[in-house]
Amino acid sequence: MAIEFKQVNYLYKSFLHENSFSLNNLSLSINSGEFILVAGQTGSGKTTFLRLLDTLILPSNGEINFDGQIINNSSPEKILMKVRRNFGFVFQFPQRQLFSPTVLDDVEFAALNFGNNKAEASKKAKEVLKQIGIEEDLWEHSVFNLSVGQMRKVAIAGALVNQPKYLLLDEPTSGMDEYAKNDLLKILNYFHEQGATIIAVSHDINTLAPLVDRAIIFRRGKIISDNNPTKIFSKPMNADIQPPSTVSFARSIGLKSTPLSIDELADEIEAINE
């Protein structure tokens, strides 16, 4: 076990409602090395959950244990900084986390922040940019002339350059073309195999369900399902989340199984034809 939420509440002040819960009495454990998909409708608490994980916000009450370090409402900034060093965070809108003059500068900046010297930072930044599929001819360009999908890749490169223990992603595939998504998935798989724990909030169930070990579904600040994706999507779904297209298609031709990838679905279809 690596991270444990113990009866965590997060309340936000709203003009309309005295105290609104964004997360309500949340208890769960995240094991080291897991690849987790967090899903649910807008406003269900998914993003609040990510922000608590990165200690960008603190629990209103309850506590979170990060590898033995307890974080609660009164934890000092010094401790939070220590915890945060284990995390890489990629926001939903990458343009809000990029600011350096060039692509390479931006990724280097993240590495310099972790005490690398200029030469080391530059080497690491180039390696990770190559890995994620940002071609060399873009390195000296302004980040702000890039497309949304390319910007996201640069933001992810910045998050990965220090090889964080935990990688948090908010809607990582949105605005990405299919091939860019494939590059991203390859690199996520690579980091997962290296032992990183990855937690991705996403609507893109089709892309992520075949890859993850575990899916957590939120509704109105509470967890309503927490299991491996095959188990979750084998049951008829409620209105909170649509099953992957593969599962919907399987159902439409009367298959009882829960294929999460197109490969599995094709196998199932051929099996009935034989």
Partner: protein, 267 residues
Amino acid sequence: MMVSAIVINNLSFSFDDGQELFRQLSLQVNRGEWLSLVGRNGSGKSTLMRLILGLETPSSGTIKVAARLGAVFQNPEDQFIGATVEDELAFGLENQQIKPELMPNKIKETLQEIGMSDYAKSSPDQLSGGQKQRVAIGSALILNADVLFFDEATSMLDPLARESIINLIGKLHKQNPNLTIINITHDPDEILWGQRAVVLEKGKIIADEPAKVLMSDIDFLHHHQLGETFVSKLVSKINQKRSLNRKIPSSIISQKELLSWLLNSNK
């Protein structure tokens, strides 16, 4: 006769850092068309839209616009300023100097059109992603926009909200045959909603053809690293496992077509 809504002639454009994107690009969009602008990240789709909207200036060439333009972006929060949904819509009317006494009716009509009548007094912050996009569409409609641009407008939405927005666009397009839709999207299944698909690659138009023709040209899609529909991917996988005489034709690109093929071939 086709009436053009947008005519682009020999458009060239470079970024501030000198990087050239468009050289002598020409494109004509007719009134009432539903065109999908397709291409990989960085191919120039959004920049082309920004040029047409007048948010960027061409280095040379001309863009003639014979229509009122409206745009819906990936993140609608960036374009909201009103405290409530009706304020948001009223803002557009004020800009057009519509008399205040005419506003309530116009707002009511637009709310109905976008299916948001119950949310007139809600703050845009309280709306879901799909509802926010509806308001952004309403803000364009209330300005009598007859060309609507969508820049990855459904990519942040969950699948149900995405479907409802695409259905709304479909309904509006059906109601008003002069409404032109230009949809920038990476979703191969969304491309099939339009009649025409224009493919950009590194600032050049490399294909301009009926959406169905583009999406069934699997070799072209592979060669240019463009996504295929869910059904195309499934058909390729099934065909890999089949002998030559049992292959499914690659012209089958929608779920309906595949379902009926599978049912008939099993008889």
